[in-house]
């Protein structure tokens, strides 16, 4: 992230994104009115792809930060580095986005520690400013700047919840798995398989999603279906392709994997 110039964050080619409902209109309106955006949804449902598409549509650079336990405030804001006996200030991704009016997308925000997330508070309300403590500087965000967060409400534990004070600054969009028709269309496009093949994969995904009450943490995501489709397209037998892309990644529980394998062999 650091060291990359802001120009490199522009997205030049239109990413594939199949609009499902009002999400794009709402996100564009949010940008226009400088309100930050919160994307909720299960894994692999297209949150990151949606952000890429939005950035392309808005012609703004997209700076993505994948959040994790050890992400510190300086990882976001920036830090002094020592080069050749001198200290050099280096902007963090958040500062970079604010300076250039880009879109800063904090992926899986709940993974970050709560004290880290607090740094975005002044940016996320009507102040729209980023204090850089170490430099004694306060950056004001230009109107083009947009802050977006994503998280997966499905598997967050109680420890990993968003604070209400954070939540209540955002417009929230829920991106769930698309309807079967749209999902098949996406798989068909992304994996390059026939519509019939895509329909079958979507049916399999629906079957696995029914197991969510029975011990499976999450059903197969659209992303997994695309992987499966891609392998099938490249000539790997469908049963094997689905096994390695769907049943095995979904669970380590022997019975669950076996049950999903049985579904695969019933379909193919």
């Amino acid at each position: 992230m650091q060291g990359k110039r802001i120009e490199e964050h522009f997205i030049d080619v239109e990413p594939y994104y199949r609009v499902q409902g009002q999400e794009l209109t709402i996100a564009l309106a949010a940008h226009q009115h400088t309100i930050p955006l919160l994307l909720k949804g299960p894994t692999g449902s297209g949150k990151s792809r949606f952000m890429q598409y939005l950035a392309w549509k808005l012609r703004r650079p997209l700076i993505t930060v994948s959040c994790h336990d050890d992400l510190s405030t300086s990882d976001l804001v920036g830090r002094y580095l020592i080069r050749g006996g001198e200290t050099v200030w280096l902007d963090g991704p958040l500062t970079l986005a604010v300076r250039h009016g880009g879109i800063c997308y904090l992926d899986e925000i709940v993974e970050a520690r709560k004290d880290t997330t607090v740094v975005i508070h002044p940016l996320a309300d009507d102040r729209r400013e980023l204090p850089i403590e170490k430099k004694g500087e306060i950056l004001s965000a230009p109107p083009e700047f947009m802050l977006a967060l994503s998280y997966n409400p499905g598997y967050q534990s109680v420890v990993k919840d968003l604070k209400p004070s954070t939540r209540q600054r955002f417009i929230a969009l829920e991106l769930t798995y698309p309807s079967p028709d749209i999902e098949a269309e996406i798989v068909q496009h992304e994996a390059g398989v026939s519509r019939q093949e895509a329909d079958k994969l979507v049916r399999l995904a629906e079957m696995t999603r029914c197991l969510e009450d029975a011990g499976l943490q999450e059903g197969a995501s659209t992303r997994l279906l695309i992987h499966a489709g891609t392998l099938i397209k490249s000539g790997i037998p469908p049963r094997q392709a689905c096994k390695v892309t769907i049943s095995e990644p979904l669970s380590d529980d022997h019975e669950l994997v076996a049950a999903i394998d049985e579904m695969i062999s019933s379909l193919y």
Partner: protein, 779 residues
């Protein structure tokens, strides 16, 4: 006068079974059975008597009769396994089944030993259940029966499958018949209700009308015909065809895999079916297509001419087609109907009807209850408004009356101009309470939908019942079902129990009820907090120091701040002409306490006195201290009586905030019944296993040995508890025990392991020792 050999046997028997439990008649019978056996055989049987006798006396006597022939063909190890199997059978299905099990040693036990029992349903049940849940999108209950079938909620499958030699192939058979039963449900096998029955029956070529007294529609239909069995066979054939077509479309892989199976069924059918019998050719035709995985078609000739599978979605059509084929068969009055292939299963018309009625009742109940809760606030508001002090005295009675007469109505075209009345396919989104529109949530909408699908309309009666229920409750806000002691019931679960004598589990042996304690007021909390003020203050300080702390590590390549020492060195190195280090940063690390603890408190009657005060104080002090520590914790009490009523009482859930309600529940803890430790330990191990934490602790506070009213005492109770604790440890949870039983050292390390317990000799020390122990345990 018994012989001396008999005397010896009698002595051995009475050593195992207390004489008080054995009448002379039983004594004689035991001795009689044992006497003719060799010494070695007697030894083996006596050993098992010790296992079976405590479970059931009648079973033990029945066992004695069956034991000798069994010993002839089983070695000692197999004999013990056989006894375990008998006990499972007895505990699951009762004495009759156990007798049958013992009588047929060959088919029930020996073939399993030899691996000839094929694939047992019990071995693959879980996998099949998950598979079916995914495929069907809803859970089905899987149950054993001789023939496959379904009542739309349960799918019946045979106990074992011996069709092939390999397990995989047999599993495929299970998968196929289970999928087929699901397909039957999907193609509406039981033809639940035909909208216009009269008209349909009129359209039939057969004159006359069905018997009026027949409650189930399909039976009414079959009885229209002179030979109902024929109509039923035709109908089932058509439905099987329909279900198989459905499977071919939905699960092509399954049908492709099953060709081998269909080939053998076809071959078998060709060998056994009377070729002249009705339907024999038709089934043959069907199997032929299935064996080659060709798209299914109806048999050529009249079937294709007379039946219209394309319009079977309308269930009337398949009935009309059945009638047409039946008419065709009138020319062949003497021919028998062939018995259908086994995989088709049976039609369970009555069971499906009963299931439907049960479901209707369930939905009705759920709908009424959910609706009652939904309208409760509105109703209360109206009543309050009617009784408001502002109302003039003259108005009040009238208004109160009208409040009682409030009526709950469905939206109709009259009172809802923008909407048409709810027709067959429409969801009821809101209802009207007098003039107020009340929206229904998704659950209610879903239930409403199901009712409309079933009955065609939403009966006003349901609304009236809901209103009545709400009116009755508006002043009693606790809506949960009360348990036998008045505590609201939160859930029940079943647990196995370890029987050390047989070295095996008694499956689903104990029923555990989870209940909520009603918090009580009073002065206890305030007094205790005041008395323990000093301890609490001190503990809080200690515990605060244990909180997660930050730590700086220097000389990192990258970090939050510059490490001045390292920087100075680097500059010096550079001046000296040495290559300076690049590790010039400090980074803040944080050690997090990621601990979840569950305090399980024995509130059996023997704790009277100490539960009374010390334990409650200890819990209170502990909770206060825990709040400053920030670890996640839960508090539960346990007690119970007999295996069917092991109870746990919720004081504080894992992530429930520590509030006055929780304090109130601590104060409300009171001595209950006995100490059956196994079920609560298993219950909370299961619960803790789902909690995400680095360290998970199960802290048990007790005053003595595990003991229950029934035979859960002594070695049995200790061994079960020990086994439950071993299970707990295996699932990555640390159990720890605090006991007030000064005799505990005799057995407690056997239970918990050497360093995992603490004996407190004075109750009064508990409030102080409990947090201390926790601190040591977690730091």
């Amino acid at each position: 006068m018994p012989s001396s050999a008999e005397q010896t046997i009698l002595a051995r028997v009475t050593a195992i079974i207390p004489e008080s439990e054995l009448n002379s008649w039983e004594q004689e019978e035991l001795v009689e059975c044992l006497a003719p056996l060799s010494g070695h055989q007697q030894e083996l049987i006596l050993h098992q008597i010790a296992v079976i006798w405590p479970v059931s006396h009648s079973l033990c006597l029945a066992f004695l009769e069956a034991a000798e022939p069994a010993l002839a063909c089983l070695d000692p190890e197999q004999f013990a396994a056989w006894v375990r199997a008998i006990l499972h059978c007895y505990e699951a299905q009762g004495l009759q089944e156990a007798r049958r099990f013992m009588a047929d040693l060959e088919s029930h036990f020996i073939c399993t030993l030899k691996g000839q029992s094929g694939l047992l349903l019990s071995t693959i049940k879980k996998r099949l259940d998950l598979y079916l849940r995914g495929v069907a999108g809803r859970p089905f209950v899987l149950a054993e029966a001789t023939l496959p079938g379904t009542d739309t909620a349960t799918i019946f499958l045979p106990r074992n499958c011996t069709f092939f030699d390999e397990d995989d192939a047999n599993f495929l058979v299970y998968k196929l018949i289970a999928s087929l039963q699901w397909a039957f449900v999907r193609v509406n096998l039981y033809c639940q209700e035909v909208p216009n029955e009269q008209e349909l029956f009129r359209k039939m070529t057969q004159p006359g009308s069905g018997p009026k007294d027949e409650a189930v529609f399909l039976n009414r239909f079959f009885k229209l015909f002179a030979r109902p069995d024929r109509a039923m066979a035709i109908y089932h054939f058509l439905q099987t065809f329909s279900a198989l077509c459905f499977l071919q479309k939905k699960l092509p892989g399954l049908m492709a895999d099953s060709t081998v199976y269909f080939q053998s069924v076809a071959a078998e059918g060709a060998a056994t079916m009377e070729p002249q019998s009705l339907l024999a050719g038709e089934y043959g035709f069907l199997l032929e297509q299935l064996s080659h995985n060709r798209p299914l078609e109806l048999p050529p000739g009249p079937w294709r001419r007379l039946c219209h599978p394309a319009s079977w979605d309308d269930s009337g059509q398949i009935l009309l087609d059945t009638a047409r084929i039946y008419a065709l068969w009138e020319e062949k009055p003497d021919q028998e109907v062939a018995s259908p292939p086994w995989f088709q299963g049976t039609l369970q018309v009555e069971a499906a009807h009963a299931r439907r009625l049960a479901r209707r009742q369930e939905v009705e109940q759920q709908f009424i209850e959910a609706l009652a809760i939904r309208i409760l606030p509105a109703l209360a508001r109206k009543k309050e408004a009617a009784l408001a002090p502002g109302a003039t005295p003259a108005d009040t009675p009238q208004q109160a009356d009208s409040a009682a007469d409030l009526s709950l109505r469905l939206p109709t075209p009259q009172n809802e101009p923008e909407e048409t009345g709810p027709d067959h396919n429409q969801v009821v989104r809101h209802i009207r309470l007098d003039d107020e529109k009340i929206g229904l949530d998704s659950k209610l909408q879903e239930l409403g939908r199901e009712i409309m699908d079933d009955l065609g309309h939403l009966p006003q009666l349901y609304l009236d019942s809901a209103e009545k229920m709400a009116a009755g409750r508006s002043y009693a806000p606790h809506i949960q079902t009360a348990g036998p002691e008045g505590e609201p019931l939160l859930g029940t679960s079943l647990y196995d129990e370890w029987d050390f004598r047989r070295q095996g589990f008694r499956h689903n042996w104990c029923r555990l009820l989870e209940k909520e304690i009603q918090p009580c007021g009073g002065t206890f909390i305030a007094t205790a907090l005041k008395e323990q003020r000093g301890v609490i203050k001190q503990l809080k300080r200690q515990f605060e120091q244990m909180r997660s702390h930050h730590r700086f590590v220097g000389r990192q390549r990258d970090g939050d701040d510059i490490d001045l020492d390292a920087l100075t060195e680097a500059v010096a190195d550079q001046r000296a002409g040495l290559p300076p280090s690049e590790r010039l940063f400090v980074r803040q690390l944080r050690d997090q306490r990621d601990i979840a603890a569950l305090f399980l408190v024995d509130i059996s009657s023997s704790t009277e006195g100490w539960v009374g005060k010390a334990i409650k104080e200890a819990l209170l002090v502990m909770a206060e201290a825990m709040e400053s520590l920030g670890d996640r914790y839960a508090i539960y009490g346990f007690s119970g009586m007999r295996r069917t009523r092991s109870e746990v009482f919720r004081v504080k859930e894992m992530d429930e905030p520590y509030t006055e309600t929780v304090q109130g529940r601590i104060a409300a803890l009171s001595p209950k019944e006995y100490t059956r430790m196994g079920p609560p330990i298993r219950h909370f191990s299961k619960m803790l296993a789902t909690v995400e934490a680095r360290v998970r602790l199960l802290i048990i506070l007790t005053d003595g040995k595990p003991e229950d009213y029934d035979d859960y005492k002594g070695e049995y109770a200790i061994e079960d508890t020990r086994h439950a604790l071993v299970e707990t440890k295996n699932s990555g949870i640390h159990p720890f025990c605090i006991t007030l039983d000064t005799k505990a050292p005799e057995y407690i390390s056997h239970l918990f392991g050497a360093a995992n317990y603490l004996v407190i000799d004075d109750v009064k020390k508990l409030p102080r020792r409990l947090p201390d122990m926790y601190r040591l345990l977690t730091s």
